[in-house]
Each structure stands twice: as structure tokens, then as C-alpha cells.
């Protein structure tokens, strides 16, 4: 049986791993290579590196560390941040990344997803979606996609609704979606199970949950209440509040298929 994936996200800013609350006030928490190796050794299933400043500053992710990570770890990893053209993507994949994740540039130009999929194959194209629940005009809540979330001063609401955007991303050739539920990000009160289940129902590609993990039970809730393929978290892993081996054992004890 395919396991549920536990994914550690390393938000990278100026070559260091940082973490903020609800995308603001980032603080330094460590060295990229040290953290990558630690997580691989502890049995995390995948790593994601987000250069959180790259997209809003209009530059591509700085790449020298990608090769270093690829040389040292033997689990898959994804690189995100300001990838705006085929050449950016090619350099990152050729340096050893397994997947690339695009977010704001895909919103600017949805055709970019199709271009990337045609050149590199859908399997390595991840579309990240930053989504916030809002009150719509008719007093019903809607899930809206946000753009340039790496920098609080530049973050804007896009005109797109999350469910439609997820469908479109899949149709254009995304191989996976990482859905970051912004209302829950950094709050540690659990994943947004309602929103995640809705998005998972409208696409056939894997969907990874992001935003809200604060305790072991939140992962069990995610995998029992939804068909979501993986749970991503950052600060609870970096702080040591959740230990990867303990989390895997805990999930296995709940009859959730994981890689031990």
C-alpha cells in the first residue's frame, strides 16, 4: 500500500532556514544542509525547500545549495521559489532536485504549468496554492488564492477561487498540489480538514496538506478524515515538538500506512 507521506518544509531566506507565523516575522532556525541531513536520517519521506523571498523579489532561487543537498541526501526533495521560465526549472532539476514547485508565476501565467509539464513531465511539476477562507459577496465563505505570500507587504488576493485553480492546475499538467491553508498557518491548531477534503475531491493528482500541524494527533486526523496524500509541516519539526520517528510510530499504531 502506498504510504502517507510526512514532508518537512524548510523555508529558506538568504541561504538560511527560517520560520514565521502566518507568513510574517521570520526568524532564523538553522543551516540548510544540517537540517536536510537530520531529517533524512530521521526518516522523513520528502523535503521541500521554499525560497520564500524569491518570488516577491522577482529573482530565481539561489542554487548553489541544491547540489549540496542532492549529494548528501537519498530521499526526494522539491525546490520552490521564483521559478519563472523553463531555464530556471532546468537548472534546478539538473542540479539534483526531484521536483520543482511553482506558485505565484503560475498565477501570473497558467500556461507556464503546461510548458513545464511538456518539457519535464508532469511527475516533477508541483503547484503550490496559498489559500485563505474569506467571506464572499453573498455572505458565504469562499476559498481564495493568494499571491506573493513570501513577503507580507506584497501579498495580494488573486481573483481566483481555490477549487477552480486546483482543477485548472491539474488540467494544465501539475503532478501534485501543495495546498497551504493560510488561516491555519503557524497557528498549530490542526490542518483545515474541510478545505483539504474539498480540494482532494476535485482533483485526481496527489494533494499535500500544509498549514496548521501542531501535534501528533493532527496528522492522524488528516489521514483518517481525508484522502490527502501527505502532511507537510515546518516549525513543529524544527523545534523538535514533533519527532519524525515518534510521529511515524504513532501513525502506524493508528493503522495508518507509513514508512518506518
Amino acid at each position: 500500500m502506498l504510504t502517507k507521506r510526512i514532508i518537512a518544509c524548510l523555508d529558506v531566506r538568504d541561504g538560511r532556514v527560517v520560520k514565521g507565523v502566518q507568513f510574517r516575522n521570520h526568524r532564523d532556525i538553522g543551516d540548510i544542509l544540517e537540517l536536510a541531513e537530520r531529517y533524512a536520517d530521521e526518516g522523513v519521506d520528502e523535503l521541500v525547500f521554499y525560497d520564500i523571498t524569491a518570488s516577491s523579489e522577482g529573482r530565481v532561487v539561489e542554487k548553489s545549495w541544491i547540489t549540496q543537498v542532492a549529494k548528501r541526501i537519498n530521499i526526494p526533495f522539491c525546490v520552490a521559489g521564483g521559478i519563472r521560465n523553463i531555464e530556471d526549472a532546468r537548472i534546478i532539476l539538473n542540479n539534483g532536485a526531484d521536483k520543482i514547485s511553482i506558485n505565484s508565476p503560475a498565477l501570473e501565467n497558467p500556461g507556464f504549468i503546461s510548458e513545464l509539464a511538456a518539457v519535464f513531465g508532469t511527475q516533477c511539476i508541483v503547484v503550490g496554492i496559498d489559500s485563505r477562507e474569506e467571506m464572499g459577496d453573498d455572505n458565504h465563505s469562499v476559498y481564495r488564492v493568494y499571491q506573493y505570500t513570501g513577503d507580507a507587504t506584497k501579498t495580494i488576493a488573486s481573483r481566483r477561487e481555490t477549487l477552480n485553480w486546483a482543477r485548472e492546475a491539474e488540467k494544465r499538467g501539475a503532478g501534485e498540489i501543495v495546498l497551504n491553508c493560510m488561516n491555519n498557518d503557524g497557528v498549530k491548531s490542526g490542518y483545515d480538514l474541510v478545505q483539504l477534503a474539498l480540494v482532494k475531491k476535485v482533483v485526481g493528482i496527489p494533494v499535500i496538506a500544509s498549514g496548521g500541524a501542531g501535534d501528533y494527533s493532527h496528522f492522524a486526523d488528516l489521514f483518517t478524515a481525508t484522502a490527502i496524500d501527505g502532511g507537510l509541516a515546518a516549525s513543529v519539526f524544527h523545534s523538535g515538538k514533533i519527532q519524525i520517528p515518534d510521529l511515524k510510530q504513532y501513525l502506524a499504531s493508528k493503522q495508518i500506512e507509513v514508512r518506518l
Binding site: M1, L2, T3, R5, A40, G43, D45, T67, A70, K71, N74, I75, P76, R90, L93, N94, N95, G96, D98, V119, F120, G121, T122, Q123, C124, G175, E176, G204, I205, P206, V207, A227, D229, G230, R259
Partner: protein
Amino acid sequence: MIAIIDSGGANIASIRFALERCGQIAHLTANRTEIEAAEKVILPGVGAAATAMDTLHRHGLVDCIRGLRQPVLGICLGMQLLFERSEEGDTAMLGVLKGNCHHFVAAPGRSLPHMGWNRIRNIDHVNGNPLLVGVPDGAHVYFVHSYFAKLSSYTIASCDYGISFTAIAGNGNFMGCQFHPERSGPVGEQILRNFLAL
């Protein structure tokens, strides 16, 4: 020398780095003479079957690969290329292994691509296969694919995703892993070491 055939895919660096972790320097090449002279050959591949076959044709490598006598390991799409045809773009492939590659059937709760860690089952418990020395039955490895080869007499290890399919294939010197050993943790590294030790 280990030759990694340049099939135009983008994941080649991670295979090269994995071989380096096993203490082997690998050479990325599309040169027929170099490939024929290599002790072992790795055929990687990501993306579409037709694109990869086009690249092999363009470099004049199709007959070269078919004629290799040293151990050859196809990885992911590289394993599928060893078979005769793929449903992906109805592509004619190398045909050193009999059989075709098929698309998974989508189902509720079963995402496609088949992406992530899944268990492989050792088919030949009694005699064992040299590729699986030190690999526990039911070990998890990392898959990313939407097409698969059915179980056959070539199947060394199987995997289940709605259907049982070939996770490791082998016939004589031609072998292949549907998963990514270079990204499959210590288990994948053991399989690569086993291949290098053949």
C-alpha cells in the same frame, strides 16, 4: 567505468550523486563507444516515453543498447524503455524485454501519478536475486509514475497499487527498477550497491 546514458531527462544528477555515495564515479554520456566500453550501464529517464525514445534514436543508441552484454539497469522510465511498447503515446521502445507498459486506471482515493513510498515484494524467495541481497521483503521504496509493466516471468519484485505490477524486472544482463533507488533511502542504496557488485 559506469556509464549513465544521457536520455535527456532532468533527474540524472541525483543518480550520479547516489553512485558517488556508493563510491563509484559515473560518466554521463550519449557516446556509443563509451557506453559499449563501460563496465555497467544505467539508463535513466523521466518524462514521456516518446521523448526519451526520440533522444535515443537521435543519438543512434537504440541498436547500441539492444546489443549491450554488460549489466544494464533502467530506472523509472528507463526500466519501461526496456520493454516493447508503451501505451504512453503508443511508443515503440527498445524491446529487450517482452511485453508492454500500461496506464494505471484511476480510481477514487487512488491518486495518479503513483507518487510516494510503497512496499516491494520479493518474488523469488527461494533462490533470491542478487539485486535484492540485504533488502527485506516489504521494504519501502520511492515511486513516481503513471505507467507500469505487468507481472511476468521477468518480475523480480512486485508492488501493489490497485493492481500488482513489476517493481524490479530482469532478464540476463538487462534489469530495471520502476522506482527511484537513488531516492529510496538506505534500501535504494543497497539495491544500487547490489547492481554495482554484479
